[in-house]
Symmetry: C2
Subunit: 371 residues, 2 copies
């Protein structure tokens, strides 16, 4: 018997795990469609609680709090992929969790993720699992240098990563990372980093935004430019790979897939663009923030539409886009940003502008005004 997923109608309550800026912007998009939101977050001060009607401050292991949270909402989503598997399973037994528990599991462990991508025929960097200094040494011998050691779990914004260069002491690098379960990846000589932000609906419908080009600084996203400088066929292939991945996961919601674009010599001897999947995030993604100002439907509204079983919105781009993250004290420049009629400022209401902390972003849409 096929279970029919009912539409979760405006007026219902959405539970969001995680109270950061992504949870905040999801809650605001949900409110625009008439939903109520309940934020669940272990930290008492967080950006999302300021824009939601309900807030639970409790640990992800607190089953009484999780149970009460689940009972208070109609559907549950999350703003980050490091929700413990046990938490997700506990909640999924009580309310729909979207994207599903399998999507979480496939993305929160780099080894599982890479093997899953491989199983779908999606190209990745060469990789090998690492459990100790010995296996790391053998892997580096096989993959060559430079190579990148990455923790299997809980890495973000370059945390839990170390590069093994010519002359690096492999054992010392392994000990410095401090994560026994890791993978090592061969370094990809990419010419450009890109991402696809797409959504898959409860009915299997699929909608992608135009390919985004991303520039990182200190392992943190600094800028996104749309459309990416890439051949149309490259963009189309990246979107098709995203669809393959989303379908394989029976994915529901917005997904962000990061790609490396390399230049390889083709059979005819001409250089051509090739794609390699770096990683995917089962959630709204920083490189999709531009859609708030530069697309018909924002990625946040799109995610809410998908998890509530509503039709996906149009992903039409409204101009040429530059999105800049405001990291740490860059957000102190808000006054001059507000003075620029081309700039659209978004601040997350975080108290302290620590180094490396994402405080906000600014979007520039080169949009044709109406005559």
């Amino acid at each position: 018997m096929t279970k029919i997923d009912p539409v979760i109608a405006p007026g219902a309550s959405i539970g969001i795990l995680g109270g950061g800026q992504l949870g905040r912007m999801l809650a605001m998009a949900a409110a625009s469609l008439g939903y109520k939101c309940h934020i669940y977050e272990p930290q008492s001060e967080c950006p999302a609680k300021e824009v939601a009607g309900r807030f639970t401050c409790a640990a992800f292991e607190d089953e009484a709090a999780l149970d009460a949270f689940a009972k208070s909402v109609d559907v549950i989503t999350y703003e980050f992929e490091n929700v413990p598997a046990a938490t997700a399973q506990f909640l999924a037994a009580r309310r729909p969790v979207r994207p599903g528990v399998e999507s979480l599991a496939a993305s929160q462990d780099r080894l599982v993720e890479k093997r899953f991508l491989q199983s779908l025929g999606l190209p990745t960097a060469p990789f090998l699992p690492v459990e100790d200094g010995g296996s790391l040494a053998r892997a580096v011998a096989q993959l060559g240098r430079p190579a990148i050691l990455k923790s299997r779990r809980n890495g973000y914004d370059g945390k839990g990563q170390a590069t093994i260069r010519e002359g690096s002491d492999v054992g010392a690098v392994f000990r410095s990372l401090g994560f026994p379960s890791s993978i090592v990846e061969g370094k990809v000589n990419f010419v450009r980093e890109a991402s696809v932000i797409a959504a898959r609906g409860l009915d299997g419908s699929f909608a992608a935004y135009d390919l985004c080009e991303n520039r990182h600084e200190n392992h943190i996203l600094a800028k996104t430019i749309v459309p990416a400088q890439a051949a149309p066929e490259t963009a189309a292939r990246a979107i098709e790979m995203t669809r393959v991945l989303a379908d394989a996961l029976s994915y529901v919601g917005v997904i962000g897939v990061e790609f490396f674009i390399t230049l390889e010599k083709g059979r005819d001897g001409q250089m051509e663009e090739q794609l390699c999947v770096n990683e995917f995030a089962p959630r709204v993604h920083n490189s999709g923030h531009w859609t708030q100002d530069g697309a018909t439907t924002s990625q946040f509204e799109q995610h809410i539409r998908a998890i509530c079983g509503l039709p996906l919105g149009a992903t039409t781009r409204l101009g040429d886009i530059l999105m800049e993250n405001l990291i740490g004290h860059e957000a102190d420049g808000w006054a001059s940003i507000l003075g620029n009629p081309e700039a659209r400022l978004h601040l997350y209401g975080k108290g302290e502008a620590r180094a490396g902390r994402k405080m906000g972003h600014v979007t520039y849409v080169n949009q044709k005004p109406c005559a």
Copy 2:
């Protein structure tokens, strides 16, 4: 000594009097700029509390609650003009109230409002004050029929109004309205209703959106079309009148001014458009909701910028606009609206779809997508 108004920087707290949909959309715009919001509203269930970090449910006469509210915020604004004068004065003694107490006073009494507009040389419908059946009869004799009897205070969406037609019993109409302090207005034979949504900054800067054309049904705004069907000179004159009014009030924030457009025979015998101010609202205005999707800066963000002493944002229109209010059960059509890729749905999260209740709105922006 000139008092210098300090900028209220992102991270500060904004107090909003009134918890309806205008307060809700103001709070969301404030959050996008990194502000915290505190809603003050006598009703325990209200749309705005769902998107704000703090909520006080208390009467506008509760001085202890007002005092605590004022102390918790850095600036105070309001979503409706019927805030009692004593409440506004009590708060203004503690924190900046923007728009100011004078703007409230000038707009919440129709007689004061009309006389103020007259004093600025701005055209209005002919009007006379009414205190009893006798003065109403004399006024109608002078202004002719049809004429419209309006309560001086607390009217909105056609409430507190009655039309005196040929054959109407003037005394009966007066008693049926039930407001002793009223005005009677001569009926304006307008061809079109229009509005200007504009903002005046703390530094006296001024920015207006394009002239809006408004269609009412049952005295409630049904549709807004932008640009209005009017001569460019008519639109320019309406904006200039709005600037004169805002300057005279030393206004700070977004103001909505409603106009009647009439056709009159000019000196050369040609018919030409004339303007007449109907009323103004010292707040964001329903006919400006399209700016969320159809302008560079929404009226809600613009209001927050103004009351915080920030530079006003660009008011560039991004396409031809149709905004439709969803009144009562019209909001039940959300599913088909969400299925239309051209439509942008906004729901206010109100529980019960009572007749005449504004439940949401939908915007259509005929926007050129990027090639």
